[in-house]
Amino acid sequence: MTARWARTALAIAGAIAVGSVVPGCGVRPTGIVAAGALPAADGRAEAVTVYLVDRDGRLVPVLRPGLPGHPYSALAQLSVPPTMEERRRGLTTKVRPTLRLEPQEPPKADDSPGVLTVQVHLTRRDVELGRVLWSSVAKAQVACTAAAIPGVRRVRLAGLLSGPGTGVVLVTGVLTLDGGRWADLKCER
């Protein structure tokens, strides 16, 4: 009787020992586990000034939130359709939405101080249609928006541009705030 009891106890102890080890080997899958609250959006970025066009064709500065790490995001924002609130104010942008402006970040080494290079990407369809991509108003928007960025005095647009009536040509233009060839519109302060 004692021997049987001892054997039973031994078997139970062995089962506990084995049972505590065997199922736990390796990395076990889990269910969906909560890991705390959502992270708070805390990226620091200065608000940027974007020049839009009002109903009368005048350039109007608008503040938009910046993107952390993108000090020149204002230029990229030019081709973005205005927000509902801006549209209610009658503001619009003359930079075609199919254009994608990509400011060179950081500035190229061979750029002279104060010059910002903006790569312009356009769609193949725009090229094929030979659309007039850059109105003077659009150029003015770029020039004024760039001028609002601290430290930028000139903008170089790089990429495929098309002038009025000339078809698609490769143009590298430099917009300057004061008396540049394309700066025929004044930035309204």
Binding site: V21, T30, A35, A41, D42, P65, P81, T83, M84
Partner: protein, 508 residues
């Protein structure tokens, strides 16, 4: 001290008779199934249990810590990167740029990132299949919109950690929320490194546990040996004590219970030895007294016989005097016989009896014995005539004379003496059987027939024998290394069987 060696010599003789004390085989058999195995098994089981439990617990703790660290690393990185890179207010239509940046920032070897735009149709946004190592379930995506969640998933036998989250505390518009809502981020991180570490840890644990088990086994064997050796020594000592080696003692070591037991054993053995020695001394003294008395009686008896013979011849003239004188002569002769027998028995008791061996033709020896006592006509002898045995002829004569005389005296004719070679316990020998046609032996007599002064007719105090004849015969048989037994003949009557070995040790 003349008697003491005799008493000691009796012990081995008992052993030679086959009365081997039990326990030897049982002891050896218990060696593997007994206390040693049980103790070793229990000890090893406890050690195994302890080491397995310890390693199991350490394994679980280590795994928890390892996975916790891996998870926390990924979770913290995702949390911090998302927090750092997501602006509280997203510029319109910048989610794609932010997604690309987040994917680049969080990507690492073994880790894949998918930042997908929030959907506003009530369903969770799901990364495209293949962008992550594991599939993201809809329930996971739904929960990831409200809080940071993770899940460990095994895919293809490899463990992965899936993390899903979104940022909070951002500003968006009610009219066009999809344009200014930060993306959801899903990260799948491989836990293969952790799994490999755990595997190597498991291997180390198995090796360590095996070593611990081996060590425990060795220690258990050592410990049980330490415990069982005194027990074994005590058992051997007890057996030796039982075999008559009364001076057996065990050495007492340590102060534990076994030492107490050994001490008690020694005390008991000492007391026993003292008592037995006293008894032996007393017995020896009484035997010596008998021997001395017999010797002292012999000399006057010899003179008395000579005198009574003369007296009997002179008294034969008168009728009454002749009867009295004959009675005196007979009684004196009987007394002489008794004294002779007592002296013979005393020699046996003193261990002074020795064999004088010779090659003897059994048939001739038996017939000579019968002829010398005038019994040749009363007894029929049967047996191989060429049987030659090495024995003491004088003692053999005493045995045969006692057996045949006994048969003639107490049984009825025909008395037969039959001998034949017979092996006993693989020892070659021969048996001599003396039977009569008498009433046989009473059952209560058979057990004591070889004891001293036992007579068939107990009530008859004045029997003719000394009451020592069969005792002397038995002692003589035993001295030869043989045996003498009493029983009933198949056809009624008593039967005495003498068995003697053919070979004799010369020293015996």
């Amino acid at each position: 001290m003349r008697g003491v060696p005799a008493a000691i010599r009796r012990w081995p003789s008992r052993r030679r008779a086959g009365a081997r004390p039990p326990g030897g085989d049982r002891y050896r058999r218990r060696w593997f199934s007994g206390l040693r195995l049980r103790l070793t098994a229990a000890f090893t089981a406890v050690a195994l249990l302890a080491s397995v439990m310890a390693s199991g617990i350490s394994y679980i703790l280590l795994r928890r810590a390892m996975l916790q660290r891996a998870q926390d690393t990924v979770l913290n990185e995702v949390r911090q990167t998302l927090s750092r890179m997501s602006p509280p207010e997203l510029p319109p239509d910048s989610a794609g740029t932010l997604s690309a940046e987040l994917e680049v920032a969080l990507r690492e070897p073994g880790r894949k990132v998918a930042a997908v735009p929030m959907l506003f149709d009530g369903r969770g946004a799901l990364p495209a299949p293949g962008t992550l190592d594991v599939r993201v379930s809809r329930a996971f995506a739904m929960q990831a919109r409200r809080q940071m969640v993770f899940q460990r998933i095994t895919r293809g036998g490899k463990p992965f950690l899936l993390v899903g989250t979104h940022v909070t505390q951002y500003v968006t518009t009610t009219e066009e929320p999809e344009r200014t809502t930060p993306p959801m981020v899903f990260v799948s991180a491989s836990l293969s490194q952790e799994a490999a570490d755990l595997r190597s840890f498991t291997g180390a644990i198995v090796i360590a546990d095996s070593l611990a088990l081996a060590a425990a086994l060795a220690l258990a064997l050592l410990a049980t040996r330490g415990v069982l050796r005194p027990v074994r020594r005590l058992g051997a000592a007890a057996r030796a004590l039982g075999d008559g080696e009364l001076n057996t003692r065990v050495t007492v070591r340590g102060r534990d219970e076994l030492a107490d037991l050994a001490r008690t054993f020694n005390g008991t053995a000492e007391a026993l030895e003292r008592t037995v020695n006293e008894l032996r001394a007393m017995e020896a003294a009484s035997r010596r007294f008998v021997a001395d008395v017999s010797h002292e009686l012999r000399t006057p008896l010899t003179s008395m016989i000579a005198v009574t013979d003369v007296l009997a011849e002179e008294a034969a003239a008168s009728e009454a005097g002749g009867t009295a004188a004959r009675l005196v002569v007979a009684e004196t002769r009987r007394l002489t016989l008794l004294v002779e027998h007592l002296i013979e028995i005393s020699r046996f008791d003193a261990g002074a009896a020795a064999l004088v061996l010779d090659d003897v033709v059994v048939a001739a020896a038996v017939e000579a014995t019968l002829l010398a006592r005038g019994w040749s006509d009363a007894v029929t002898v049967d047996g191989p005539r060429d049987l030659v045995v090495r024995l003491d002829p004088r003692r053999f004569d005493v045995i045969v004379a006692n057996l045949v005389g006994n048969a003639l005296k107490h049984g009825r004719p025909p008395v037969r003496a039959v001998f034949a070679p017979t092996a006993r316990e693989d020892a070659p020998g021969f048996a001599l059987t003396v039977t009569d046609r008498g009433p046989g032996m009473p059952a209560d007599l058979r057990a004591v027939v070889f004891d001293r002064f036992v007579k068939a007719e107990a009530a008859r105090t004045r029997s003719e024998g000394s009451g020592l004849g069969l005792s002397i015969a038995k002692e003589n048989a035993v001295l030869h290394g043989g045996a003498l037994e009493a029983g009933d003949a198949p056809g009624g009557g008593a039967e005495f069987t003498l068995w003697l070995p053919i070979e004799q040790e010369e020293s015996g």
